[in-house]
Amino acid sequence: MVDSEEADIENEQFFKRRMTRRQAIAKATAAGAAIGVAIVAGAGGYFAGTSVSPGKSSTTTVTTTATQATTSAVSLGATPADRAVNAVNALKASGAIPAGAKIRFLEAAFRAGNMTPTAGQTRTDPYTGKVIQNSINMLTKWNDLTGVPVEMDLLNDLQLYDKAISEATTKAGTWDFLGQRIDFLVDFINSGVALDLTAFEAKYVPEIRTGNCPVTPVFAQGYYTSDGKYWGFPGCGDWFSYYNRRDLVTNPKLQSAFETQFGYQLPVQGPDTWAQVLDMAKFFDMYKGSEQTLPDGSTATLRGSYFFRDNWFSNIEFRIRFLELGGLLFDNNKNVTLDNAITRQALTDMKALTSYQVKDAFTSSWPTMYPNYSNKQVFQTISWASVAQFAASGPVGGQGFGVYQTPGYLVNNKLIRVTVLYDQTSYIIEKYGKLTSVVPDVPFLFGQWLTDPEISTQELANPGAISDYFRTCHGQDERMIATFFAVWPPNPGIEPGRRGAAEAFDVQFQSLCGTWQMAGMHELQDLWGTQMNAYFTGVQDVDTSVKNMQSGTDGVMDRLGRDAQFQRWQHVVQTFPPALKVLHGIS
């Protein structure tokens, strides 16, 4: 123990440079050793997961269970939102929520328009000049109701995965509420970063699979593991919709020219099969180049199609075609079954379409695509369903987009359509989040409130929202229909006489297949996308790509547990649309 007076004297001596060399050496060595020990302890703590990390100075005991129920769900309120708000206020009153607490929310940047930070602002439509109100600020609204602020950070959605896995590694985190792709959920569960929400669901009843407006079953399936545990909230039920230039397909002269060339009528209601998609791409691609003359006398610079071909989207389109052709990832003996004729046909057909594509499809992004489409440079394209509201406001919008279902393949003379959820997003509660570590109920209740039928409708039914419907009542809600109908044309591809987008959703729900939820999906999707794009761009032949897909997938399955992966695949199979279940004899 050093007397304070002595210490002062020592300091004075030091600063007056009266310290002896021996003293200096001793102090410097001691300081160096202390720092060294601290670093070793820090590194050990980092890997041992004792939460030695920026922002955390001591070991944290992570609370992973719901606080003791003091009231029943019914007494908390009639709706999920009411229960969420009342429960938070009750927790606050009981002193369970520390002063200054806030929810840290890590969200995918592209979805930010749903609620914040651009929420509440207006934007000017570049095509029409109209001022459009962006999303209402849901986070401010939550803060007003509960007094618990939400601080949002934005990242690229793939980087969100990296962040979550990093926090799982260190077992120390910053964020409580994490927007993520649902196909990565298994990795989050296995790494321990996702909080098991089963007890919270029982306690607060967010009505995911119950109530008058449950989450669409095929989406809801994605939040429950095969053992019945519940892990996430829905954020967006993303899937592809298909669009083409309605002004062109309804033109009599073009219809006549198409029929002459291909021997059947131009599918005005949208192509039913991928073969028709290819024919239409071929037909309209003839007008590429410098201001070619269309049969109706107008001039155009047009490419046949613009289906994304980056790794991610190639992979999704492949999965659609693969399933439609009757492909299954595993056989009954748990063997991966990618190296077969079905995979080869799917890839060969995709490559055929590539010839009529805008070549930027391999490297482009949404902002690159829209001008291509709305400037009449592309005949047909894909997009997620709600995005059409932006594209439709372009110069082509007034003449109408055709929106149609996922094209299919004829198998045994029966048309099979499958729509794979490609980016179904979810919100998980991060186990190591700062607030979660103390009172995990609060981020859970925020999720419950945000995805409540009424609150989520408010969120989605505005021109700034970018997410797709995920609850069964969303498609029937007049506010939602008004928003989408206001900017979408009547839909010729679904059922004449019915109103636009909302009906498109209803019909497309019938062909939806659940997200492929398995461990290592990030790696698998990169593997498949990389291999098929290597074939599409002429780097290697189809056999090489297929064999690499097979061997790479086998490697992942062996490494991460083939039996468990097979079980997860069985869970996916249960989400197959009816036509696919019939094809495979699944009851």
């Binding site: 060399r21 160096g32 060294g36 990093s166 391999f362 990030h522 990169d526 761009t537 991460l560």
Partner: protein
């Protein structure tokens, strides 16, 4: 007490007081460098992944990861791609940098310093931004095709970034654009530091400018050229931002560099142990290559 005094005296005699002073810092540095490095080596011998459990309970698999990664075609291709980019970009940067430096050194003209500053601007651009800029230039509907269309009078729509050879070339050009100024700077500094007597003497004796450059300047510049090439090659070997943004390693994996490969497998696919083995392999290779390349600069033993 006497013993203690004796020990300090011995240390003082052996190393000197100045050396003793830096020992604490050295201890810290060793922990910063050696501990993570040792952990990386250890992890490379396990089959740990954050999505399969904790690192300290992960079983030791010995050299399996090393065998596996060395026989992985994608890793081999990443090495090949990186070597092509390093070879192409550094050569281009060196040649252009040397020519520019020689021009600046040989000619006096007004505004020389302003031009010199102007040349250095690309080096200050964040690589991610330069990657995005070059992606815009080489896009099918990008600036390059637009210029070619205007010049030729016919629609040019070359798919620069999804043809393997041109995608690699585009990455090389982007890197060369950014780092030629660095070579220019080093070469120019080297030239201005050369002793003027031998050059003047050669000139008096009737040597041509070309002879002066080849026979006098170039040999004298050799140490700085070697250092410049080593520094740039080491940096280029780690190239990540530019190809990641321009091509994301595609088409296929034809522009996937070692850094992109390791990033994808270690961070994106959470195969930390396997990627650690790859990183160690690359580290060892770089150490040997650097030692070999810098051999001429090291003092020769008597």
């Amino acid at each position: 007490m006497d013993n203690k005094k004796g020990r300090t005296s011995w240390l003082k005699r052996k190393f000197g007081f100045n050396v003793l002073l830096i020992i604490p810092l050295q201890v810290v540095l060793n922990f910063v460098l050696i501990v993570p490095f040792a952990l990386a080596i250890y992890l490379s011998l396990t089959n740990w992944s954050p999505i399969t459990g904790t690192w300290y309970t992960s079983p030791i698999v010995g050299a399996d990861n090393y065998v596996s990664i060395l026989t992985t075609l994608r890793f081999q291709q990443a090495i090949y791609n990186t070597l092509v980019i390093v070879g192409g970009a550094v050569t281009l940067e060196f040649v252009l940098g040397l020519v520019l430096a020689l021009a600046f050194f040989s000619w006096d003209f007004r505004g020389k310093s302003i031009f010199a500053s102007f040349f250095l601007v690309p080096m200050m651009v964040i690589p991610a931004i330069s990657g995005f800029t070059f992606q815009t230039i080489f896009a099918t509907q990008g600036a390059l095709n637009d210029v070619l269309t205007r010049i030729s009078g016919t629609a040019v729509a070359v798919d620069w970034l999804h043809v393997p050879s041109s995608a690699l070339l585009a990455v090389i050009l982007a890197d060369a654009w950014q780092w030629t100024p660095f070579m220019f700077l080093l070469m120019y500094a080297g030239m201005t530091a050369l002793p003027s007597d031998p050059i003047r003497a050669a000139r008096v004796m009737g040597a041509t400018e070309r002879q002066i450059f080849r026979r006098i300047m170039l040999p004298m510049l050799r140490p700085i050229i070697t250092i410049a090439l080593i520094i740039r090659s080491l940096e280029a070997f780690k190239i990540f931002d530019v190809p990641f943004i321009m091509t994301q390693g595609g088409p296929g994996t034809t522009t996937e560099t070692i850094s992109i490969f390791l990033y994808k497998f270690a961070i994106e696919f959470a195969r930390v142990a396997w990627a650690s083995a790859g990183a160690i392999v690359i580290f060892v290779a770089i150490v040997f290559v650097t030692l070999w390349a810098s051999k001429p600069l090291l003092p020769k033993a008597e």
